[in-house]
């Protein structure tokens, strides 16, 4: 192991895989849109099987106000700063999609009981950068960029906010949005000077809820964008058409030399794969196509709605969800052109295949997930977004969300639900809440990028 540096994260993906296992994780939980007039909060979950409080929420950090809709989050620093001993993975950044506030949370002083360090007010972001609807947070060496899906009025395409390491607003990161119509997720691969971004919709479109008709009226995205990362401008876009309706999460291989990456097109419920060919040209193809399923009582076939994807730290497996069908899947992507289905489990969903898991009725379906660095434990939550939950799974108001853990076999493939782990957010002290994205203090499979 390289002992020269002592910054955050790990020298390489293989060192991350061999890191100590996670004992805590953080997940956000929302009351926004539930009818309970309490702030959203960051929950600390005990995931150490040897602890007396295993599989419980052991701390709750409430945000200062109501109505944020916490959603995704990200670290102030990751393995991209591994050589910088002045940096540490200390602060978790929690954007409020609706309020526009950015909450900076200190998780290092007491990892079990994170504390609020600073709030960057949404109004300040609107006035200084003309942005709203924050989503993905990535650190960028010692600085931070956050994708925002709209301008201050909630109109697409928004842009990227850059913060310095003291969490001061620098301004807009990008030099140009080119012809990009919508924003959402992004990931970058510095050795190839590339960033890839995807498209959801304008905040004014997706925040009130989902309508199929608005997809037909081109209010939702269907393109992927390749950026010149150093010049901070898009240089090439791929129109994915019907195969790529609502392309959401983008992930590169963790191997910093690889050009392969993946995107889950939520409504088409397809996985799109891209790579650079021997001529130095970016290529894309559809590699997974989840068929719509008939629901016994519905007039039209039901798409899976693949709202998230994740690549294991060894780049061997791709995990995906079908939020409406109710299944989580594992594919062996050793050959990224030819994925092989190696695992599948159901939890909740509209098809009624697993209405109850570990003794709890599951409202919602598998939605967000986070994988341990060693690839053996996948933590899965069930709520997507308050207004969308309320449309598709109205019973989640009373039942709340759940967090489950799936045991994954990184050697031979395969998934099964861990019968000893269940966190029922329906039983929270202030009433049913909904958990969403999770992060581990020591890094995870969606945080770290190597320079």
């Amino acid at each position: 192991m390289n002992k020269v540096c002592c910054g955050p994260g790990y020298a390489s993906p293989i060192e991350a895989i061999n890191a100590p296992r996670e004992k805590l994780l953080y997940t956000i939980a929302i009351y926004t849109g539930t009818g309970i007039q309490k702030p959203d909060y960051l929950a600390t979950v005990d995931v150490d099987p040897d602890s007396p409080t295993y599989s419980q929420v052991i701390h709750r950090l409430e945000m200062p106000g109501i109505g944020d809709e916490l959603h995704h989050m990200g670290w102030n620093a990751c393995s991209s700063c591994h050589d910088d001993s002045s940096m540490s993975r200390k602060y978790l950044i929690l954007p409020g999609v609706r309020s526009n506030n950015l909450h900076i949370v200190d998780t290092a002083t007491d990892p079990k009981a994170p504390r609020l360090y600073k709030v960057i007010e949404g109004a300040e972001i609107k006035s200084k950068a003309d942005l709203s609807g924050p989503h993905t947070v990535h650190c960028l060496g010692s600085e931070i960029i956050i994708s925002f899906l709209g301008n201050a009025k909630g109109e697409a395409p928004g842009g990227y906010l850059q913060l310095d390491k003291e969490f001061n607003i620098i301004g807009r990161w990008e030099n140009s949005m080119g012809g990009i119509k919508f924003g959402y997720d992004f990931w970058y691969q510095p050795r190839h000077n590339v960033m890839v971004s995807s498209e959801w919709a304008a905040p004014n479109t997706f925040m009130p809820g989902f309508d199929l008709e608005e997809v037909g009226h081109l209010k939702y995205g269907r393109e992927l964008h390749f950026w010149d990362f150093e010049k901070r401008e898009p240089v090439e876009s791929f129109y994915l058409g019907e195969d790529g309706l609502v392309p959401l999460e983008v992930k590169f291989h963790h191997n910093p030399d690889s050009t392969h990456g993946f995107c889950g097109a939520a409504l088409s419920t397809n996985v799109i794969h891209w790579w650079k060919n021997s001529d130095g040209k970016w290529q894309w193809e559809k590699i997974i196509d989840i068929e719509n399923e008939m629901h016994p009582e519905w007039p039209i076939p039901l798409p899976g709605v693949m709202s998230a994807i994740l690549v294991s730290m060894d780049d061997k497996y791709l995990y995906l969800n079908n939020w409406l069908h109710g299944d989580m899947r594992q594919y062996d992507i050793s050959d990224p052109h030819n994925p092989v289905l190696t695992g599948q489990v159901y939890m909740g969903g509209l098809l009624g295949k697993a209405p109850e898991v570990n003794g709890v009725e599951v409202a919602g379906g598998p939605q967000m997930f986070q994988l341990s660095l060693d690839g053996k434990r996948l933590y899965v939550t069930t709520s997507l977004f308050s207004t969308w939950d309320n449309q598709f799974y109205p019973e989640i108001r009373e039942k709340g969300g759940v967090m489950l853990q799936i045991d994954c076999d990184p050697e031979n493939g395969g998934m099964k639900v861990n019968p000893n782990f269940m966190i029922n957010f329906g039983k929270e002290p202030n009433g049913p809440s909904r958990c969403h994205e999770a992060r581990y203090p020591g890094g995870d499979c969606t945080s770290d990028i190597w320079l």
Partner: protein, 121 residues
């Protein structure tokens, strides 16, 4: 200063006076009414309430489609009273705010104003 009376039917018909120039959300919160809200610019429907009588000016809202407007919904963070009004507030009033888009697709005139057809409006 023009004032109007707001009656909240699902809070024991409690009555408040509101300033016609300010958003109803801000006015009611100043009176101590605990109301949900999110974006505070009319884009996200978290603060939606059902208007059962009277008129409001909510031309700044961009969240509601015509089906929701026809069901009486108003976005309190941008709506101003134009007369005495009666409201049902909170998520209890949201019975016709959300629909499953696969089970109950909208007709073209029920979409949001910028994409709706003009028939039957």
């Amino acid at each position: 200063m023009t004032k109007y009376k707001v009656t909240i039917t699902n809070r024991d018909n409690v009555e408040y006076e509101v300033d016609a120039k300010r958003p109803i959300l801000d006015e009611l919160r100043d009176h101590g009414v605990d109301l949900p809200y999110g974006c505070k610019y009319g884009g996200c429907i978290t603060c939606a309430a059902k208007l059962t009588s009277g008129d409001v000016d909510q031309k700044r809202q961009v969240a509601l489609n015509n089906w929701q407007l026809d069901n009486g919904y108003v976005i309190l963070c941008v709506a101003r009273a134009k007369s005495d009004i009666t409201l049902e507030i909170g998520t209890e009033s949201h019975d016709k705010l959300y629909r499953n888009p696969f089970l109950e697709p909208l007709k073209s005139y029920q979409l949001k104003a910028d994409i709706a057809s003009k028939e039957d409006i």
